[in-house]
Amino acid sequence: MWDYSEKVLDHFHHPRNVGTIENPDGVGQVGALACGDALKLAFKLDEKKERIADVKFQTFGCASAIASSSALTEMIKGMTLDEASKVTNADIAKYLDGLPEQKMHCSVMGMEALEAAIANYRTGDTTVRELKDDPLVCTCFNVHESEIVEAVRINHLTTVEQVTNYTKAGGACGKCRGAIQAILDRELGKASAAPAPAPAAPAPFAELSPAKKVMAVEKVLEAEVRPALRLDGGDIELVDVQGARIQVRFLGHCAGCMAANLTKNGLVEKKLREALGDDALEVEAI
């Protein structure tokens, strides 16, 4: 059972501003029946076309999706469009005294519907967000790269699991998790490069803590080893790291493959030594 705040339950049981608006100034919609949640948001401006005079929503979804939509309408009523366009999913979650981590995507859906509605007013175009030139990352839930980048930046996300919780990307077949990691690596590289223009040289592998060793090895395996193995229907998992000795297990077609030992020395060990800068490092397949 989800641990919802009193505020979430209140907005779920007594949703504010439910319905549609006749002749709205802007309409935005995100989500779909297939995805399990959807939100249609409509607003009308005051006579001077400055502030949001009325806003209504319709939501298909769980308790937190309904509560997030309701909260959003309360937050933006009376705002100028510039003010409203600065509202983020983090603001929605905060207004509700927090959401369970796995439900943060409900607040992101609110933010995206609002962006779409404002864009609809400003351009007069489609009520659906235009993401044509933006690469599609998650085909199961239709999540584009810009949406992941936005969620990462606003919410300071650092792991693929978090990205899934916030955007649903990677939450079904999981094939895009590598692509999400690549986006994260790029974003995090950017973020850490900004405050510290001269990053310190990475610590030698032998001096890393066991946890950091595992993370470092896993990163190399994911980025440089698995893509090659997967071409042949194989895979590899990290079993243990003891000192400079890395134990791995070959999976899929690699398990029991005659050439696995060659792969271990020529690919896995080579890539790990290069990337981690430690020639003493040894790989053992079990």
């Binding site: 919609q29 995100v30 779909a32 769980c62 895979d235």
Partner: protein, 401 residues
């Protein structure tokens, strides 16, 4: 807030321990706490109580000999034992045949075997949840050693697989046949090892009014299966670990009650209540029943209310004291809706709006009335909130988000 009366309609998740079961267990916490494997009489007595319980379990399953019953900690352990233990015994060339709608306690061991290089065939189901027998026959024609593991009754929809026919086909093809009967034991009279040639059968105590933490695996004599838990001679060296006597005694009592229930008309009364619930809910516009209505457990009803979402319905039902479950993504602990409904090719409109009501011998007319009173209002409220189902769908419902 005043707590409403509890209307428990989630018996496929767990059941209330029967008072008779609790009563039978109590002496084994206070007076008769000896180790069943000890040499002295204080333990020996307990051993006889345990064997009496084994005989009751064996009797319910139609076992030729009570020693074919191995006590485990839960249905999941029984499934893991049967699957990994058999594949280990049959060797690395073993093909595993299962279905797409099994419980995760079967699906995940099968996927793990697939990752280790075994060939695993996941047989599909028809739209009404019944097994694709042609595909099953095809899978059985794969040469080499084979393990078949198929559920007797589906936990989400209650749909029954024709286990007698499946087991006979498997035996004719030289395969070892295991069935996960966790939802079927005590509800399906056909379960009888003397008449249906299954080699192994898993089930769990807490689905038949015993407490959580006890299960059993029936292993027909001569079945090639290695032990799963090593470290002791208990259960004839098939399952190590000091015997959990209080719970074993409880399971024995629960099986005795279940055996009586198969004969005394209780299941007919449960089915009548379920049918009344079904008819009442079908009066709500666009309600659909998921799964074959004839080939189904007497206690299970899986329905979908299109255009609204399961978790939201469960919250409203909870306010009325009603306990049920849903196959929606938000309740499954993942972002995907029920793998069972997806395997049945249920439409998206129904996928996220499914509810499961599962009854037991303790279910009353008042429980059914409570649902029938609450549900129309809940559906109406949530449909008023939903952008879908008004005949004028929002543009491009598959649009980017």
């Amino acid at each position: 807030m005043e707590m409403p009366a509890l209307h428990y309609l989630d018996n496929n998740a767990t059941t209330m321990p029967a008072p008779e079961v609790v009563e039978a267990m109590m002496p084994f916490f206070t007076d008769r706490w000896g180790n069943a494997s000890s040499m002295y009489e204080f333990g020996g007595r307990v051993h006889r109580d345990m064997e009496a319980a084994r005989a009751k379990v064996g009797s319910l399953l139609g076992a030729g000999d009570p020693s074919e019953v191995v006590f485990t900690s839960c249905g999941s352990e029984s499934d893991n034992h049967a699957i990994f233990g058999t594949v280990q015994a049959l060797g690395p060339e073993t093909t595993v045949i299962t279905s797409k709608v099994e419980h995760p306690a079967v699906l995940q061991p099968c996927r793990a075997l697939e990752e280790r290089g075994h060939r695993v065939v996941f047989v599909g189901v028809h739209r009404d949840g019944t097994l694709d027998m042609d595909a099953y026959r095809g899978a059985l024609s794969i040469p080499g050693p084979k393990l078949v593991t198929l559920m007797w009754a589906n936990n989400e929809t209650g749909v029954l697989f024709p286990i007698r026919e499946c087991a006979e086909l498997a035996k004719a093809a030289g395969a070892v046949f295991h069935t996960d009967a966790t939802q079927a034991v005590g509800k399906v009279a056909e379960i009888d090892a003397s008449a249906v040639p299954f080699d192994m059968l898993s089930f769990s105590g807490h689905k038949i009014h015993a407490p959580k933490g006890i299960g059993a695996l029936y292993i027909r004599r001569g079945t090639p299966v290695r032990p799963f838990l090593l470290g002791g001679h208990q259960e004839r060296s098939r399952r190590a670990g000091t015997e959990n006597v209080p719970y074993i005694v409880g399971l024995g009592k629960a099986c005795e009650l279940a055996a009586a229930e198969l004969r005394d008309g209780t299941l007919g009364r449960v089915a009548a209540l379920r049918d009344r619930l079904q008819e009442g809910l079908l009066a709500i516009p666009e309600t659909v029943v998921n799964g074959n209505r004839e080939l189904r457990l007497p206690n299970t009803l899986n329905v979908s209310f299109p255009y609204i979402e399961g978790e939201a319905m469960l919250f409203h039902l909870g306010d009325a004291g009603i306990c049920a479950s849903s196959g929606s993504a938000c309740t499954s602990g993942s972002l995907e809706p029920s793998h069972v409904l997806r395997a049945m090719d249920a439409p998206f409109t129904a996928l996220h709006g499914s509810l499961r009501f599962s009854l037991s011998r303790y279910t009353t007319d008042a429980d059914v009335d409570a649902v029938l009173e609450a549900m129309p209002g809940i559906v109406k409220t949530l449909r008023e909130l939903s952008p879908f189902g008004r005949g004028e769908e929002p543009d491009d419902p598959g649009a980017a988000r």
